[in-house]
Symmetry: D2
Subunit: 430 residues, 4 copies
Amino acid sequence: MTISELHVPRLTPARLVDRYAAVRRQTEKLCEPLETEDYVVSTMSDVSPTKWHLAHTSWFFETFVLAPFDASYLTLNPRYAFLFNSYYVQAGERHCRAQRGLVTRPTVAEVFAYRAYVDASMQRLIDRIANDTEHPALPVIELGLHHEQQHQELLLTDIKHVFWTNPLRPVYRAMSDRGRPTGDGFDWVSVPAGIYRIGHAGGGFSFDNESPAHRVFVDEFRMADRLVTNADYLAFIDDRGYHRPELWLSNGWSTVRASNWEAPIYWERTSDGWTEFTLAGQNALELDAPVTHVSFYEADAFARWAGARLPTEPEWEIAAANAPIDGPFVESENYHPAPASSPARDGDLRQLYGDVWQWTASAYTAYPGYTPAAGAIGEYNGKWMCDQWVLRGASCATPQSHARLTYRNFFPSDARWQFMGIRLAGAAKA
Amino acid sequence: MTISELHVPRLTPARLVDRYAAVRRQTEKLCEPLETEDYVVSTMSDVSPTKWHLAHTSWFFETFVLAPFDASYLTLNPRYAFLFNSYYVQAGERHCRAQRGLVTRPTVAEVFAYRAYVDASMQRLIDRIANDTEHPALPVIELGLHHEQQHQELLLTDIKHVFWTNPLRPVYRAMSDRGRPTGDGFDWVSVPAGIYRIGHAGGGFSFDNESPAHRVFVDEFRMADRLVTNADYLAFIDDRGYHRPELWLSNGWSTVRASNWEAPIYWERTSDGWTEFTLAGQNALELDAPVTHVSFYEADAFARWAGARLPTEPEWEIAAANAPIDGPFVESENYHPAPASSPARDGDLRQLYGDVWQWTASAYTAYPGYTPAAGAIGEYNGKWMCDQWVLRGASCATPQSHARLTYRNFFPSDARWQFMGIRLAGAAKA
Amino acid sequence: MTISELHVPRLTPARLVDRYAAVRRQTEKLCEPLETEDYVVSTMSDVSPTKWHLAHTSWFFETFVLAPFDASYLTLNPRYAFLFNSYYVQAGERHCRAQRGLVTRPTVAEVFAYRAYVDASMQRLIDRIANDTEHPALPVIELGLHHEQQHQELLLTDIKHVFWTNPLRPVYRAMSDRGRPTGDGFDWVSVPAGIYRIGHAGGGFSFDNESPAHRVFVDEFRMADRLVTNADYLAFIDDRGYHRPELWLSNGWSTVRASNWEAPIYWERTSDGWTEFTLAGQNALELDAPVTHVSFYEADAFARWAGARLPTEPEWEIAAANAPIDGPFVESENYHPAPASSPARDGDLRQLYGDVWQWTASAYTAYPGYTPAAGAIGEYNGKWMCDQWVLRGASCATPQSHARLTYRNFFPSDARWQFMGIRLAGAAKA
Amino acid sequence: MTISELHVPRLTPARLVDRYAAVRRQTEKLCEPLETEDYVVSTMSDVSPTKWHLAHTSWFFETFVLAPFDASYLTLNPRYAFLFNSYYVQAGERHCRAQRGLVTRPTVAEVFAYRAYVDASMQRLIDRIANDTEHPALPVIELGLHHEQQHQELLLTDIKHVFWTNPLRPVYRAMSDRGRPTGDGFDWVSVPAGIYRIGHAGGGFSFDNESPAHRVFVDEFRMADRLVTNADYLAFIDDRGYHRPELWLSNGWSTVRASNWEAPIYWERTSDGWTEFTLAGQNALELDAPVTHVSFYEADAFARWAGARLPTEPEWEIAAANAPIDGPFVESENYHPAPASSPARDGDLRQLYGDVWQWTASAYTAYPGYTPAAGAIGEYNGKWMCDQWVLRGASCATPQSHARLTYRNFFPSDARWQFMGIRLAGAAKA
């Protein structure tokens, strides 16, 4: 597969200019609540400094668009390629990930200047290729914008970890009212057995790991019509869920014991009851809101305790196939999942997108016939297909234009710092 | 599922007595080449001491058969339950795995006495329940025998690691002549698309993870009719396979760099060329023999380099469905994989069983509808379904009566000390 | 010993006000070349963030002066006591050292505001107790100022490590001309055997570890009249000093091998020869300048290679007893050791103070009769008397008013990030 | 210094033959209570397998005596030099210490055969050089015998750790009656200030680190006339000694917290009170016996709690200068320290030798003018002079002929597996 075969819709140049500007501006908007100091640090191996996110997303355009497609382009600083390459081995030597949070220069101001420089160069390039709808740079630009949207989500979850690590527990932004929760239970939605087609086909952008579309056989199953709530999860904790080895995978149990897990990462038990650290500060636990920041191990143990299981990724995609792509995305500016509203119609699945990514029971491996792109860009997804699980849906930190039915997110079994939650599934009712 | 629902054939008591004695005797026979000192140590976290294998397999019968089904049974030493429980959390406190190789008592002689004591007790129990073909102990005894056969294989691969760790490189047993290799290349065997049924159904023993039998849709594919040889693998090494990051999964590449891998674990480059440590000592590399002791990372990178891929486990089982269960098993007493013979008929798959376990592209997860047994025995397989890959077939260290079509072996991506090898697959020829 | 028994001269209140202001201002002056981002990070376990140094030195006055001696004092933020206590267990719970570089708030501006708040409170306290020359706060204030001067030196050596860790290698401040080196060799200065009195007695401030003054017997010895130079040290490197185990302590040799040491920490071999990273950037190695940033292991191995040894601390103090306390201190604003000038008179020791601290052959243990102060302040020095070596003199990062003959600096065997160098000694000439 | 300058008395050949045979036989006698399995393992990094001790002491004679002084000597197995060299870098490549406990071959029987082979060769050599009292091999043979005696002590303390690690807690040998304890308190013995000569001079064997004898000035001090008992130490524990940071060195406090120390290593609190694991099994704590298996950290904290301090090594040697070298050595076959008897005369120091090594407040550094021997043998003591403390006296595991006044034993601050105890000292009474 060549880059030009990426599943990318052709935008008109005018719309591409607008979209490029909007995505890039959104990244910077997310930085507005931050102090200069907040941009610098990495509080654990998964967390990158904000200024690294700002620079790395610019480096992506520089490396994969400007360098190959603009012969006149000169980099602002040749050392930046070393500092801001993440993991693209074929794109050259790079700075050690463990040291990202130790590098105080370039300063935040210099990084913003670097962004501006890349943006101006990109603007010129887009103008120049405006009339060539087959220009090979176009799909790479589209990929770069989706790449930047992924980093917008990481920027938020990373800064959440940075703020939580600080004993002063700073607030990123106060939460607005999110409407009335229903407080209801949930219903099962059933799907009959059959051969289904899953994966990306046809129009619109997708990452290479969503292809090729292909047939799967799935037996009859059912899926919960809403997410697991904090109240549901509390019942698991109160039933000694974190102290019953028979509920856990072996690695999960080892992790629970070694890390003294007693609750999701941002929960804290106080004399006034459970609280949860959010980007709006440390708040009383909201019982109707979806549980979030749980690992695969916890999702799996909870499901076992509940007498259910996690859905596989084909099941999730099949069940969600006809649902609209809406929900409380990052544009709602709450940065936290919201309680479910009442279902519009019987049998509708609620909270598919925009609250929390939903762990599936499917290991992240290649779709039959999957081939990554040639060259460094092919390292984007393929080389991570090992010891990770697929998550489906989207979260409150995902941009709406970034979400879609076939999206395959993936993280290791013990990751908890993303907005990750739980949807139950099970065999068809006897 | 209760234990009595395990997929276990009913043996007549007479045959069960014989089979029990044969399996137990075979374990001890494998110890004959060892010195007392060899039984004691653990050379890495995966390796258990021989005397631990001898005792643990006896503990299994004591805990899951004698304790529940023989009210008069008294254990030889109540501390043994602590020392020889492996990972059954629900069966009580247990000794730390990391310390298994530090415990010099009970002595080897005392461990053999423990075995004899358990065997005598088992003999009495089997005699007593001889006429009750529905007795609930019977399926557990059968499970215990298959459990013991798994440890026979581990005993050999563990002692191989112990001997290799020793700069004196002791010999376990000299290798006998293994016949003429063909030196041929290989052919592809094609299988058409369709819905297939895989997993264990019907007669004979199986582990719970092979169930339930279920339908899968598989697209047209092809599979190599023999294993990858040392000569094949040398071409990969000589083509700088261990130095080209684009061939590797990201975790695999990190492992290669961190561990300085340049070849399979037991290979050594000398001034006279490559040698390989075997249970018959350090020998010149046999070019026609299957490559063995490679990790999933290496199998996956090799396949990518070869322009192919690994088979999925449904593909392997579908392709092998009608093949006989034969090959050079442990009974051949060579303890090393053998070169392929010429195929009996065109289109026959060779070397399916008895040389090396074959890595598949399938992560080890539950079959749809899988439910482990209740209680401690349910920890046997289910709690390991995380961050491991399925291997299919059987190896030169597997007892013949232990191998079957639906067998799901599993190990993590970096494991190399088992007899693990590579079979290629690919999409149907264009 | 009570705090009031600390060896502290009585200053007039007016002079104390001036001295307090001068020391505090100097700390802030050292920060002028820094960007906000530079204040935040810790690049290894020994390095604290600049803003932590700024806050911790203020916390010291708050905790040991304002809290006990000003009943009306209210802290600016009660959480700061948790964040900025270093290691005083008896002063309460404290933030984990390993996380110092992960805390982005309080911001740099807030930390400066905290300093100003403490300074205003201290000003009021000093005014109030102006006429009471026996006030128990006075010796603690003096201790706090010397404590702050120690952190001034650490601030510089820590920021040097931060800048060196950055691939962009920022410059702190350009170096001014430092005059003509002599390029000469060195002479030995001999001292006869006898009973000598060492340690602090009489007037002026000292830390408790310099007391009590006491008698020692020392045999005849000689000491080099200047420091070991880069040229001297290059000869050791060129003679394969880092590759000859017989020159090294066993732990030193392990460290050399495990850390791949081939030169002092900030040296780098380029195609144009050796360079050295300084606070003025990466420069060509200055051959006449003292070697610096070597560990005890390297100092000891060099001395052995040179057929000499390091001086003991009694020897150093006895030999230096009548020398003036001058040299290129931090006030010279070069932040790097300078080549030796010609000796003023035959037999004068050169470079005793102000270039590099000098490793001695004496382990850091208590002087006979040593007793630390009661309470948290007693943790200042005493609890560190284990597995460290004494260094004598002072460095280019030491304030002149902080240096004195009896000063006992101390670091572990492998520490290299301070301005540490080598002076040779030996038995009397045969 | 050459090897022939080692402080070694000249033995007549006949006496040397006897002494060689006696020392070598004693090592093997210590092995009599062991099973073959016990010889193989290493239960922590400080512990070597018994069979390694047996082989290494033989390798010492082979390498430093037979190889240089017997041209006809052929080694039994050239790989043994690799396996059984401990830390003599200049003597060639050696096996990694961490793997000593993983090597099952040579077997125990083969190691005894190796010893017999070396002994026969040594016998021939000694016979040959019988009449040459100046033969350069003689001092090295004497050194080898003292080396072997050190390993006899290690063999016992190592096997004690091996047995204790085993949940079955095997018994090495039952303890015989050790007489009546006095149950008395203790007296102080005072020593006046002055210049004293310490270190080895004149006749008899000594290690190089005991030289040269030299003058030291010591102020008036006093030393306890018996060791600290278990009853004394229990008072420290009961006074929350392990939970009061102000009593501890900083590194000591970190170790206490990180390792959850609550008592000496072999103590265990049961429902019936404190017990202690000994080579005679797990016994009730004997209150009058000396506390043993405490680290320097614990000895130092105990002394501080008791309002005293540890003696320096000059103080210990000066105070003990005229005492006889007797006490319950290994020949008493109790392998555990004994309660003090009543003092023979007022002012006599009791328990100087033969119960436990006594921690001093002196770091292990070179005596003034110390020079190790040239070549590999010079690595014996000198390269360890870093981050260790001196212990004086001798223990219940020391051979009587191995003990002497000037002996400098040394271990790091956290070592506890040797028979290490506490004697208090202090300034002269006011």
